[in-house]
Amino acid sequence: MNKTVNQKAWFFVAPVLILVAFNAIVPLMTVVNYSVQETFGDNVFFWAGLRWFEEILRSPRFHDALGRQLFFTGTILAIEIPLGVIIALAMPRKGPWVSVCLVLMAMPLLIPWNVVGAMWNIFGLPELGLLGKTLNMIGFDYNYTRQPGDAWFTLILMDVWHWTSLVVLLAYAGLVSIPDAYYQAARIDGASSWAIFRYIQLPKMKRVLTIAVLLRFMDSFNIYTEPSVLTGGGPGNSTTLLSLDLVKIALGQFDLGPAAAMSLIYFLVILLFSWIFYTVMTRGEEQ
């Protein structure tokens, strides 16, 4: 096959190249720039090589934040995915209640993230919040601003409240796309409802659930606004997730070099996990 060379084609690709350059490549390269240099202000930079990367990778502070981050993401995935599927299965497929359910489910997704944080912050206050006060009244010693366990409990509850709906909506979309004939065929076979779930609904939901896990993984790994408003990383450092720690280093201590190195490591970790998960889930499916 002969390919004709057409220099004019560049003209058509140029807008998207410029756009990508400005919103992705330039900012990313700036970070790469900072991550290999040292500065003492006045826009004077010295070459630092891979020193910041070594420092971050060896620092216990980074290990702790990464550990907390993995714990947070693992926990919310383990709760939100099964819970989302259960709620989707319980939702009606036909009739007037469908739209009511869908609107109710979409509600938490419509609330701005910092408002979610502020809501739960007040909701959990032991003296005047509905949740905090109620828990204390029925005998629990609950105070998320003082006890790390309570802070984690509130943080995870907030995320489950905020994001399970997304999983519900995706799983529901997968469920309603299953033709009625599948259910009829299963009834004729005399299949139990567990068998219907295991052999029809779950396989048919596999694709949307893969997307759901990916989205929830990436979003929860990047989470910043809500915990920052709710606990600010405290008490102490107990709920300081990766993004919170990063902001402390970059803007609190103004250590631009280590912060840039940490951003890149952070980014590669997310990329790596997402890639592994996606490869495993879509293995054996040729298109």
Binding site: A185, I188, D189, G190
Partner: protein
């Protein structure tokens, strides 16, 4: 083990899906439900299976009233238009699934699945997943699953509709063979008159939730009981025209006339003449000329289907061979009116032989 529908109806809200219907299907019989989409074929089948409960009336099987019996207790199988298989099970497991639910010993399952796969010619694909098969193989798997258990009632709801032309022809040839040795009731729904004729058996022609004709398939084709039955059982659609009979002559609005058969009483009728009796070449001396403006000419190679308008009434001609026509031109067609049906004002077929004798 006959299946009987006794005065069965189905209403959903204010919509009547099935008007009161009585049907009896004998064991070992091959029964066709023929009708356009929304004629009620699927609804009727679902009530036979027990997937839907009739609004009124009863379903009897083998002398027992099974109206309220759940589908899994009725020993039925069903094949759908879509290829319904368990997506993450192998072909073997798919075919074996009804036998596993019935808790048969593993050796017997192995033997019966093997035998059924052999019959369906999918033995080589037993380890694959349905998504790795062609449409025809997927539908064979679904059929194997339906046939592997000894059902008393096998329902096939347009099973060939989603297959390509060649596969459809192959499967049509195979189907009667698959059911030949079984002593069960087979019900087969289709929208295609040609398919019904090829499969034979007995046909119930359906129109808007009613069974409008019932009998051996070829018989219904030759002698439809009425207008609706003739319309359902014709592809391309049957030509219909308003006719008046006066003093021994039949006159159409199209300006065509011919000598009326003996015994045809004076009055107005609807005549029906099948497209293959309207030809661009003169076939019989009794043919009358219908002139019209050609609208569409479909040449399939072995057949020509010409749509034309005679006095603004649509007509269709179906003839063998290639007969090219220019659209928009006037052309002459020869209608063999000795083959036409006369329907009275109520849409019933006028029995000319009986009428001739009476006169």
């Amino acid at each position: 083990m006959a299946l009987e529908l006794k005065n069965v109806t189905k209403k959903v809200g204010a919509d009547v899906h099935i008007h009161p219907t009585d049907l009896t299907f004998e064991p070992g019989s091959f029964n066709i439900l023929l009708g356009t989409t929304l004629a009620g074929k699927t609804t009727l089948m679902q009530m036979m299976a027990g997937l839907e409960k009739p609004t009124s009336g009863e379903v009897w099987f083998d002398g027992h009233n099974v109206t309220g019996t759940a589908v899994q207790k009725r020993n039925v199988s069903m094949v759908y238009q879509q290829f319904i298989n368990y997506p993450n099970m192998s072909v073997f497991d798919n075919i074996a699934s009804p036998l596993r639910v019935a808790r048969l010993p593993a050796a017997e399952i192995q033997a019966r699945v093997g035998e059924m796969a052999e019959l369906m010619r999918i033995s080589a694909m037993l380890d694959r997943r349905p998504s790795e098969l062609s449409g025809g193989q997927q539908q064979r798997t679904a059929m194997a699953r339906a046939l592997v258990k000894d059902s008393d009632l096998i329902l096939l709801d347009e099973p060939l509709a989603n297959l390509d032309f060649k596969l459809r022809e192959e499967m049509r040839d195979e189907l009667p063979r698959l059911f030949a040795e079984r002593n069960c009731v087979v019900v087969y729904a289709t929208t295609e008159p040609t398919e019904a004729l090829l499969l034979g058996g007995q046909t119930a022609a359906m129109h808007e939730g009613r069974v409008v004709d019932l009998g051996p398939t070829a018989e219904i084709y030759r002698n439809p009981s009425g207008l609706e039955s003739a319309k359902v059982f014709s592809e391309p659609p049957i030509n219909l025209a308003k006719a008046s009979v006066k003093s021994g002559w039949v006159l159409l609005d199209e300006g065509v006339s011919w000598k009326a058969d003996k015994g045809l009483a004076n009055g107005t009728y609807t005549i029906g003449i099948r497209p293959h009796h309207v030809s661009p070449v003169r076939q019989s001396s009794k043919s009358v000329v219908v002139e019209g403006k050609v609208k569409v000419a479909e040449l399939t190679g072995s057949e020509s289907i010409i749509h034309f308008h005679a006095h603004d009434h649509p007509w269709v001609s179906l003839s063998h061979g290639v007969h090219p026509f220019e659209t928009g031109r006037f052309a002459r067609f020869y209608a063999d009116m000795s083959k036409c049906f006369y329907f009275d004002a109520d849409g019933h077929l006028v029995d000319l032989a009986a009428a001739g004798k009476a006169a």
